[in-house]
Symmetry: C2
Subunit: 190 residues, 2 copies
């Protein structure tokens, strides 16, 4: 997606070899018009997949996921990062460890919003080590839903997220693939 | 906003005299079409106020705020709930205590996304005790921005949020005002 790549080049900051900050249009300040175009692009890519729900992870994925869900005309479900709760049959939880951020959290889904009839599109802002996406897939499996696709705004192609997800049989659609952040320079794949 | 009130009556759950759960269309599952209408309504209400940015608080305000910002054609800025950081002149933080939820958190704003030229519309999902909105206003003051309005999707009119904000000279626009949640029954104001 050329418009996105231009914004990443113009405004993204390679803070280290593994950290790309895009706080000016995606993670802190958000450009609603760009998010609309991102949503339109994801919706176009997955329009024939029979998607019934768009699922994202709190909170940076919400903006692109909402726009995608609007274009696909399906609900969005936000997986919440919450402290452990007393589990009951209607609440699914799984621990996610983010190696890049060095933190763990509980990802939570109320069972009544996803069920065995759902074919889900997972949308997130970044794909890095794939741990949060894998956690989302664990929750969706507990709810007996199937995954129809995974869309990420920015993929850090030098981290193992895509390989992990493809090994499990999932296809990943990234709007921008970063090959390298070495020496403060942002290089795209392909 | 009649469409919203109908959804609240049909799907909202008065869990106690102070807690209204609207997890089916606003806080966990999100209805993108309803959010678009909510955004349109807020944009209409504040279109002549010279708003330069829409600001919201992570994370349930993001969906309505994004749609509002899209209609107003301005950026959205998400105030982040984050652990304390080493402060520098470009990062503003303030502690917010939520009495209803019984928790405290640090609300964070990177100064480069809001400055003295900004006239901000604050959008949030709920107005209850007004503590999070007051925290947002403190941060915006630190950034020398002015507040052009406050829009909330659902106001719990039996809690002191509106009074606190109006006492500080701010006007609050609520799309649905809840008068009472007594005996599991949702009653609107007016």
């Amino acid at each position: 997606m050329d418009l996105l790549k231009e914004r990443i080049l113009a405004e993204g900051v390679a803070e280290s070899e593994s950290i790309l900050k895009v706080d000016s249009f995606l993670n802190h300040q958000v450009d609603p018009e760009l998010m609309e175009k991102v949503g339109e692009e994801f919706a176009k890519a997955f329009q024939d997949k029979g998607i019934t729900k768009v699922v994202t992870i709190e909170s940076s994925g919400i903006a692109p996921a909402l726009m995608t869900a609007r274009f696909l005309n399906v609900p969005m479900v936000i997986l919440k990062k919450e402290p452990s709760k007393v589990l009951n049959k209607d609440l699914f939880q799984t621990v996610v460890t983010s190696y890049t951020k060095g933190i763990s959290y509980e990802l939570t889904l109320a069972g009544k919003y996803i069920n065995e009839n759902d074919h889900v599109l997972i949308i997130d802002d970044f794909l890095a080590d794939g741990e949060s996406t894998t956690g989302a897939i664990r929750l969706l499996r507990k709810a007996h839903a199937t995954v129809g696709g995974i869309g990420v705004v920015i993929e850090k192609a030098f981290q193992p997220g895509r390989i992990k997800l493809e090994e499990q049989g999932f296809s990943v659609y990234a709007l921008a693939k970063i090959e390298s952040l070495k020496d403060g320079k942002i290089t795209f794949a392909e």
